[in-house]
C-alpha cells in the first residue's frame, strides 16, 4: 500500500479516536500551496514540449467533461434535495480534487505507469467549469441575479487555479534545465509533503463523520455511487481523446473526484442558502476517502478494461 494512503488513515484514526493531534493552520496552508505549485511546475516543464494540436483537443474535452458532470448529477440530486443543495453538491463533483489527483499520480509512479505529462493542465482547466454550471443550476429556478464579477475573481484568482496555472506557466517558461535548481524542493520532496498533507486531510475528513450521520442513506450512497459512475465516464472520455493508460486513469480520477478547496469557497459565496455540511460532508467525508482507498486502483482497472495501453 502507498505510504501516503497510510498517512491519511493515521489522520482518520487520530480524529475518530479524539486525539489532540492538530497540525498548525499555517502548515496546512503552506503544504497546500506547495502541492499546487509543485503539480503545476511539473506539468509546465513538460507542457512546453507538447504540440498544441495534441494538447488543445484534450484540454477542450476536459473542460466539457467538467461542465457536463453537474448537469448529469443534478437531476438525480434534485429528486431528493432542495435546488440549492442539489446544485451545490453537483458543482463540488463537477470541479476536481487536486489532492486526489496527486495521490493518483503517486499511485501510478509507484507502478511505473507513465501518464501524459500535461495532465496538471487538465486539473487547472477542470476546476472552474463545474462550479460555474452548478451556480447556474442553483439560480435557474429563481429570479436572483448572479454577481459574475466577484465570482469570476474568486474562481480564477482563488489559490488553487492561480497556483496551478502559475506553476504551469513558470515551468513552461523555464523548461527542464531552468527548473533544475528548484527540483530538490519541488520534485524530490513531493511525496513526503503529500504524506504530511494527507495526515491533515485524514484529520479533517474524520471530523466530517458527524455530517454523514445527518446526511442520511441517500447521500451516503451518492458519495460512493457517483465516483464509481463518473470514473467510467472519465475513462471513456480519456480513451476517446487518445490518452495513455496512465492518462486515462488520471482523467477517470479527476472525473470521479469532488473539489473541497475551490468549490466550497465559491459556492458559499454564490449560493449561500445551500447547506455546506451536506456538500462538504459527502465530498470530503465519503468520496475523498473512497477514492483514496478504493477508487484510484479501480480507475486503473477501468482504464485497463477499456484497452488503454
Amino acid at each position: 500500500m502507498d505510504p501516503v494512503v497510510l498517512f491519511f488513515l493515521l489522520g482518520l484514526v487520530a480524529r475518530i479516536a479524539r486525539s489532540d493531534l492538530r497540525l498548525p493552520e499555517a502548515m496546512y496552508d503552506a503544504l497546500a500551496i506547495y502541492l499546487l505549485l509543485a503539480i503545476g511546475l511539473k506539468g509546465g516543464v513538460q507542457l512546453a514540449q507538447q504540440p498544441l494540436a495534441t494538447v488543445l483537443p484534450q484540454a477542450l474535452a476536459a473542460i466539457a467533461l467538467g461542465a457536463a458532470i453537474p448537469l448529469l448529477l443534478f437531476p438525480l440530486l434534485r429528486a431528493r434535495l432542495p435546488r440549492p443543495d442539489a446544485a451545490s453538491i453537483a458543482a463540488h463533483y463537477g470541479s476536481v480534487s487536486v489532492v486526489t489527483f496527486a495521490v493518483a499520480t503517486s499511485f501510478l509512479a509507484a507502478r511505473k505507469i507513465d501518464a501524459e505529462s500535461h495532465m496538471p493542465l487538465m486539473v487547472a482547466l477542470m476546476e472552474a467549469p463545474g462550479i460555474v454550471v452548478g451556480i447556474v443550476l442553483a439560480r435557474a429556478g429563481g429570479g436572483q441575479r448572479i454577481a459574475w464579477g466577484p465570482l469570476a475573481h474568486e474562481v480564477l484568482f482563488g489559490k488553487s487555479v492561480l497556483l496551478l496555472l502559475g506553476g504551469l506557466v513558470i515551468g513552461a517558461l523555464v523548461g527542464p534545465e531552468g527548473s533544475r535548481p528548484i527540483a530538490p524542493l519541488f520534485t524530490d520532496l513531493f511525496k513526503g509533503v503529500l504524506a504530511l498533507f494527507l495526515l491533515e486531510m485524514g484529520l479533517v475528513a474524520g471530523g466530517r463523520v458527524g455530517d454523514l450521520r445527518r446526511a442520511g442513506p441517500f447521500l451516503l450512497a451518492f458519495g460512493v455511487g457517483a465516483p464509481l459512475a463518473l470514473g467510467v465516464l472519465g475513462a471513456l472520455v480519456g480513451q476517446a481523446i487518445g490518452l495513455s493508460l496512465g492518462g486515462t486513469t488520471l482523467l477517470a480520477t479527476l472525473a470521479a473526484s469532488a473539489s473541497y478547496i475551490a468549490a466550497p469557497t465559491a459556492m458559499r459565496i454564490a449560493v449561500p442558502e445551500a447547506n455546506p455540511a451536506l456538500s462538504i460532508g459527502v465530498a470530503l467525508g465519503i468520496t475523498f476517502p473512497f477514492n483514496i482507498f478504493v477508487g484510484i486502483p479501480l480507475y486503473l482497472q477501468y482504464a485497463r478494461w477499456l484497452g488503454g495501453s
Binding site: 496546512y28 491533515e200 458527524g210
Partner: protein, 100 residues
C-alpha cells in the same frame, strides 16, 4: 486622560464573509476595522479553522452608535439567515474621537 464614548460592534462569522463585511463596514461609514482568525462552535456546529471552508473571523468595528446600528441591521438582514453569524456591541472609550 479623557476618553470619548463609542460603540464597538463585534461580528463573528464565516471567513467567506470577510470581503463583503469589510466592504459593508466602509460603505456604512466606519473609519476602520480589525479582523482576526478565530475558532469556536454554536448551533450550526463546530468551526475548527482546520481548512478553507471551516474558518471563522472576528471583526471589530469601533464607530459611533448610528453606524453600528446600520451595519448590524444590514448584517442581520443580508447574512444571518444563511451564514453562521454572532454579533454583539460593547461600550468603549477612545482617546482620539476623530479616528472613529
Amino acid at each position: 486622560m479623557q476618553t470619548h464614548a463609542r460603540k464597538m460592534l463585534v461580528i463573528i462569522g464565516e471567513a467567506a464573509l470577510e470581503k463583503p463585511l469589510v466592504r459593508d463596514a466602509r460603505s456604512f461609514g466606519a473609519h476602520g476595522y480589525t479582523i482576526c482568525d478565530v475558532r469556536g462552535g454554536g448551533e450550526r456546529g463546530d468551526r475548527e479553522a482546520r481548512w478553507e471552508a471551516d474558518r471563522s473571523i472576528e471583526m471589530k468595528v469601533i464607530c459611533d452608535e448610528a453606524v453600528a446600528v446600520k451595519l448590524a441591521e444590514h448584517v442581520l438582514g443580508s447574512y444571518a439567515a444563511n451564514y453562521a453569524v454572532t454579533m454583539f456591541t460593547a461600550e468603549v472609550g477612545v482617546f482620539r474621537p476623530q479616528k472613529f
